[in-house]
C-alpha cells in the first residue's frame, strides 16, 4: 500500500509517495537523493545512517518512511547553514576526526543531537552519545576531541 507523506527535511518541505515498508534511509537516499546518510548494516547496529528526527538522533534504517510523516528531519546535508559549516564539521575536519568518512555523517548527527541538548558536554557524555556509532578507522579519540572542541567553544 502506498502513502503520501509530508515532512520537513533540512528546513525544506517535502512530500513523497512511499510504500508501507519503505525505510526512511531509502526514502532519503533514493527518493530525495540525500546520499550523505550512509547504510552500514541495515539493522540499527552501526549508526552510519543516524539522522536527527524531531530533535532525536535515530537510525534511519529502523524508521519507516511513513513514520516520518509530519516530522522534522535533519541530515548531514543540512548541517551547514547559508554556506557556513557547523562548528562540528569544522572541528571534525581540522582535528583529523575523519578518515574513510563513512561513519562521519552519522557520527556528526549523533554529536549534533548531543550538543543541542548539552552545549558543553563532558567527555563521558560525548562517548556515550556516539556509543552507537561504530568507526573502524579512527579509534574515536579525535572524534571525541572534535566534539568536545565544538561544544566547549559554545559555538554549537
Amino acid at each position: 500500500m502506498e502513502h503520501v507523506i509530508h515532512l520537513t527535511v533540512n528546513g525544506t518541505q517535502v512530500s513523497g509517495r512511499v510504500r508501507s515498508d519503505r525505510r526512511l534511509v531509502d526514502f532519503l537516499r533514493e527518493d530525495l537523493e540525500l546520499t550523505g546518510t550512509k547504510e552500514g548494516c541495515g539493522e540499527g547496529e552501526c549508526g552510519a545512517c543516524t539522522i536527527i528526527m524531531n530533535g532525536m538522533a535515530v537510525n534511519s534504517c529502523l524508521v519507516l518512511a511513513v513514520e516520518a510523516d509530519g516530522s522534522e528531519i535533519l541530515t548531514v546535508e543540512g548541517l551547514a547553514r547559508g554556506g557556513e559549516l557547523d562548528p562540528l564539521q569544522e572541528e571534525f575536519a581540522e582535528r583529523g576526526a575523519v578518515q574513510c568518512g563513512y561513519c562521519t555523517p552519522g557520527m556528526l548527527m549523533s554529536a549534533k543531537a548531543l550538543l543541542s541538548k548539552h552545549p558543553s558536554p563532558t567527555e563521558e557524555q560525548v562517548r556515550e552519545a556516539i556509543a552507537g556509532n561504530l568507526c573502524r578507522c579512527t579509534g574515536y579519540k579525535k572524534i571525541v576531541e572534535a566534539i568536545l572542541a565544538a561544544g566547549g567553544s559554545g559555538r554549537a
Partner: protein, 754 residues
C-alpha cells in the same frame, strides 16, 4: 619544510563532513539493475545439479549466471578460484549463482528459487586435521593450477604453499642454549569490518568493453584478475574507484568485482549494482585466517637468543590465491624484530573449508607477533630478566641480521622501546594495574617488481593535478601524496588537487596495500615533480637564458640571482617570447618507482640479502587490570612508538595509529568469527561480533621516531598496518602479570564469577 611534517587538513575532509562525498554506493546510474548472489549452504560438496529455471522465469529477472560459463581459475598469486563455484563448493557462503533483476528485493527473491543439489563431502575445519594423510582434499587439481614461482604448493595435499627458512644450525643453537621454551599459540579468524560493505557496479557496452566501479583498494589488480577470469584483454576492462569506506585489506586483490562483472556481461547496455549486506560481507571477500603456531626458542644465560624453531599452520580457508603470500611473509619474518642466529621455520598454507583467508591489516604480522611476543615475554620471565631489557638486548639494531640474512641499517627500534618504556612508566608500580610491552617489525610483502607511478598535470594558473592510482581508503593517501608534490614543487597545498583511480586514465599502481603507498607512490610523486621541474626550467630558460634554476614560492629563479625570475604560472604552458612566438609546451611531469634490487628468497633456505623494500619497527605498552570478582578485563592505557622515518602529516599519522591500536584492541578483547558445525559463520552481525565502540577505548598516546629511510620520499617509510601488530600481545603480557596466567589464544577471555 613548508608542507611536509605539517598538520595539513585532509584534502577530502570537507567533502566528507558535508555529506557530499560520493562513494560507489552513492553514485547514480541510469536504469540500474540490481544483483543478488546465491551462496552455498554446504561447506564441502560436489555440485550435482543447479536448476535456474524458476529464477529465470521470475518477474523482473534479466539474467542468471552460474559458474559453468567462467570455469577458468584465477587469482593474485595462485590461480585457485573461479568467479562462481564450478563443480565443487568449498566453504559455506561460496557464490554459486548470481541473479540480475529490476530491484534488489526481486533479485534476492529470485535467487532463493535456484535449486542446487550437492553431494556432501567430508569437511575439514582446522589446519592440523587438514594435514592428516586421510584428510579430505579440497583441491584435487592443485597441481594443474598456475602459481607465481615463489610459492610451493604440494599437489595431492591441502598445502597450497610450504615456505621454508633455514638459517645457521638450529640444533647447534639449541645445544648452546641454557634455557629452551616450547609452546603453542592460537589465533582465530577475524573480520575486517569496514563501515562500508563491498559495493560494485558493472557495465558492459555494445562494443565488448566492461567498466566496473568498485569500492576497492586495487583497481589494477582487479582489472588483471577479471581479464584472466573473463578471458578479456586488459584494454577492454576499466576499473574506477571513488572514495572507499574503509578497506583494511578486505578490499585488496579482487573480490566482489568477480561477481558483478559476469552479471554485467550478461545484460549489455545496463548497469548492474551489487551491494553486500553486512552478513554477506563477513564471508563475501576475505577473512583474516586462523593460525596455530608452535615455537621452540633457545636462549643463553646471558639472555641472548640462540635458536628458534617455528612451525606455522595457517587455517587459510577454501581459496588461498592471496593468502599464500601471507604465509610466506610470516615465514620470512619469523624471527620478528629479533636477531636470532639459528632459525628453522616451516610456514604452511593449509586449505580448510572455512571462508577464504586473505590480506588484513598487518598481513600475517599480528598473528605471528602474537606467538613471538608471548614467547619472548615468557623467556624473559624464565630467565628472571626484565621484559624490556630482554627486548633491548635481542632486538634488531643497526647492522643486525634478519631471519633471511639481510643486514639492516637505520633501525630506530631501540628508541621506540625506550620511548614506550619511559612513557608508560616501566618499572614503576601503579596501583591497580599491570604493564606489558610488545615490539614488532613489518615489511611490505609484495612482488619484487611492484610499481607505482604518478603524473603531475599543470593547469594554466600554475596549480597542478596529481594523478596516481593510490586508493583513498581513509588512510590519507590523497593528502600525503599532495603534500609531497607541494613540497617538491614549492607550491601551497591548496594548489594541488588529487584524482581518484581510474585504470583508463590514472597511471599504474600495483595495489593500495602493505603500508607501501607513502613510500612507493610517494617516491613516484617525487620523481614526477622532478620531471615537471625540468620542464618548467626548460620553459623558463627560453626567457631567462640557460642558467641553473630553482623554484621558490611560485617563482622560477636563476640560482644566486633572485632578481632574474618569472612567475611559475607564466611558464607552465610553455614560454611566450616578446616577439609573440611560443616555445616549449604545457608541463606534464611523470614519475615511476619500482624498488630496485629486491632479490627472491632461496627456495630451500628462505635466505636473501634484500627480499623487501624496507622494514618498519615499533613498540607498544599496555596498562591492564582485571576485576577479581567478575574477571572483566580493562585496558587503561596504550602507548605506542613507531619509527616512521619521516612524519609527513602528524595529524593523519596519529589518527591512523590510534585507529590501528583500537583495531588491535578489538582483536585482543572481542573479535573472533565463530563457526557452526556446518562451517557457517554464527556471529555475522554487530550484535554478536563486537568491534570496539567509543566506550571501549582507553587513553592512547602515540610517539614517532624519525630515523630516515634513505630511499623513502623525504625519508618516510610505511606505517599504516603496524599499530595493529603488537597491541594484542602487549595487552596479554600485561594481563599475565595481573592474573598470573598467560592466555595463549585470542581473544582474551575473562576469568571470574559473572
Amino acid at each position: 619544510m613548508r608542507v611536509i611534517g605539517r598538520p595539513v587538513v585532509r584534502l577530502d575532509a570537507l567533502d566528507k563532513v558535508t555529506g557530499a562525498a560520493k562513494y560507489v554506493g552513492d553514485m547514480k546510474f541510469p536504469g540500474v539493475l540490481h544483483a543478488a548472489i546465491l551462496r552455498s549452504n554446504c561447506s564441502h560438496g560436489r555440485i550435482k545439479r543447479i536448476d535456474i529455471k524458476d529464477a529465470l522465469a521470475f518477474p523482473g529477472v534479466h539474467a542468471v549466471v552460474t559458474g559453468e560459463k567462467y570455469p577458468k581459475p584465477t587469482g593474485l598469486y595462485l590461480k585457485d578460484r573461479t568467479l562462481f563455484a564450478v563443480d565443487k563448493v568449498r566453504y559455506y557462503g561460496e557464490p554459486v549463482a548470481g541473479v540480475v533483476a529490476e530491484t534488489p528485493e526481486l533479485a534476492r527473491e529470485a535467487a532463493r528459487l535456484i535449486r542446487v543439489e550437492y553431494e556432501k563431502l567430508p569437511p575439514v575445519y582446522d589446519p592440523l586435521s587438514a594435514l592428516a594423510d586421510d584428510a579430505p582434499l579440497l583441491h584435487e587439481n592443485l597441481g594443474d593450477y598456475e602459481w607465481a614461482p615463489v610459492f610451493f604448493p604440494k599437489p595431492g595435499t591441502n598445502i597450497s604453499n610450504h615456505f621454508k627458512l633455514r638459517k645457521g644450525d638450529v640444533e647447534q643453537g639449541f645445544a648452546e642454549s641454557d634455557l629452551i621454551h616450547e609452546e603453542t599459540y592460537y589465533v582465530p579468524h577475524i573480520y575486517h569490518s569496514p563501515l562500508e560493505t563491498h559495493v560494485a557496479v558493472g557495465y558492459a557496452d555494445g562494443g565488448g568493453r566492461l567498466t566496473v566501479w568498485s569500492s576497492c583498494q586495487s583497481p589494477f589488480a582487479v582489472r588483471k584478475f577479471l581479464s584472466t577470469a573473463l578471458d578479456m584483454p586488459l584494454s577492454k576492462i576499466r576499473v574506477i574507484t571513488g572514495y572507499v569506506g574503509g578497506g583494511f585489506g578486505g578490499k585488496a586483490g579482487a573480490t566482489i568485482e568477480g561477481l558483478v562483472a559476469p552479471l554485467a556481461l550478461a545484460v549489455p547496455g545496463r548497469h548492474v549494482k551489487l551491494v553486500y549486506t553486512r552478513e554477506e560481507d563477513f564471508v563475501g571477500a576475505y577473512v583474516r585466517q586462523g593460525l596455530v603456531a608452535r615455537l621452540k626458542t633457545g636462549v643463553g644465560k646471558d639472555g641472548r637468543l640462540r635458536a628458534q624453531k617455528c612451525e606455522l599452520f595457517w587455517d587459510a580457508g577454501a581459496y588461498t590465491e592471496y593468502g599464500a603470500n601471507i604465509v610466506r611473509a610470516a615465514g620470512y619474518t619469523s624471527a620478528g624484530p629479533y636477531d636470532i642466529p639459528n632459525l628453522w621455520t616451516d610456514s604452511y598454507c593449509v586449505y580448510t573449508n572455512h571462508p577464504s583467508g586473505g590480506p588484513m591489516r598487518g598481513f600475517g604480522m599480528p598473528e605471528l607477533h602474537w606467538a613471538l611476543e608471548l614467547q619472548m615475554d615468557t623467556l624473559a620471565d624464565k630467565l628472571g630478566m626484565d621484559p624490556v631489557e630482554f627486548r633491548l638486548l635481542n632486538c634488531l639494531k643497526d647492522g643486525g641480521v634478519t631471519a633471511t640474512g639481510e643486514v639492516v641499517h637505520g633501525v630506530g627500534l631501540t628508541e621506540c622501546i625506550k620511548t614506550v618504556a619511559e612513557r608508560i612508566g616501566w618499572g614503576k608500580k601503579k596501583e591497580g594495574v599491570e604493564k606489558g610491552i610488545a615490539i614488532m617489525c613489518k615489511a611490505p610483502a609484495m612482488p619484487t617488481n611492484a610499481s607505482s607511478s604518478a603524473c603531475l598535470k599543470f593547469n594554466e594558473d600554475g596549480s597542478v593535478t596529481l594523478m596516481t592510482s593510490a586508493a583513498e581508503i581513509g588512510q590519507g593517501a590523497m593528502t600525503a601524496l599532495a603534500q609531497i608534490a607541494a613540497e617538491e614543487l614549492s607550491l601551497p597545498i591548496e594548489a594541488v588537487s588529487v584524482s581518484c583511480p581510474d585504470t583508463a586514465i590514472t597511471p599504474y599502481e600495483w595495489q593500495t596495500v602493505a603500508s607501501r603507498i607513502t613510500f612507493s607512490a610517494g617516491n613516484a610523486v617525487v620523481l614526477a615533480a622532478q620531471d615537471a621541474k625540468r620542464q618548467i626550467f626548460q620553459n623558463a630558460s627560453y626567457i631567462l637564458g640557460d642558467h641553473e634554476m630553482e623554484l621558490v614560492d611560485g617563482q622560477v629563479r636563476v640560482k644566486g640571482r633572485p632578481e632574474l625570475s618569472v612567475p611559475l604560472e607564466s611558464v607552465v604552458m610553455g614560454a611566450f617570447l616578446p616577439d609573440g612566438s611560443a616555445k616549449g609546451g604545457p608541463v606534464f611531469g611523470r614519475g615511476t618507482f619500482t624498488p630496485e634490487g629486491l632479490i627472491n628468497l632461496d627456495p630451500e633456505t628462505g635466505q636473501s640479502p634484500r627480499p623487501v623494500a624496507f622494514w618498519t619497527f615499533g613498540a607498544q605498552g599496555a596498562e591492564v587490570s582485571a576485576d577479581p570478582e567478575t574477571g572483566k578485563i580493562t585496558v587503561h592505557r596504550l602507548v605506542a612508538a613507531f619509527d616512521v622515518g619521516r612524519v609527513i602529516n602528524p595529524v593523519t599519522l596519529e589518527g591512523q595509529v590510534e585507529g590501528g591500536l583500537v583495531q588491535g584492541l578489538g582483536s585482543a578483547l572481542f573479535e573472533e568469527m565463530v563457526f557452526g558445525e556446518d562451517g557457517q559463520v554464527l556471529n555475522n552481525n554487530y550484535v554478536d561480533y563486537k568491534i570496539p565502540t567509543s566506550m571501549d577505548v582507553p587513553a592512547i598516546e602515540t610517539y614517532f621516531v624519525e630515523v630516515a629511510q634513505q630511499d623513502g620520499p623525504w625519508g618516510a617509510r610505511g606505517v599504516g598496518e603496524l599499530p595493529m601488530v603488537p597491541t594484542a600481545p602487549a595487552i596479554a603480557c600485561a594481563l599475565k602479570r595481573v592474573t598470573g596466567t598467560l592466555q595463549r589464544k585470542l581473544p582474551l577471555v575473562r576469568h571470574g564469577r559473572d
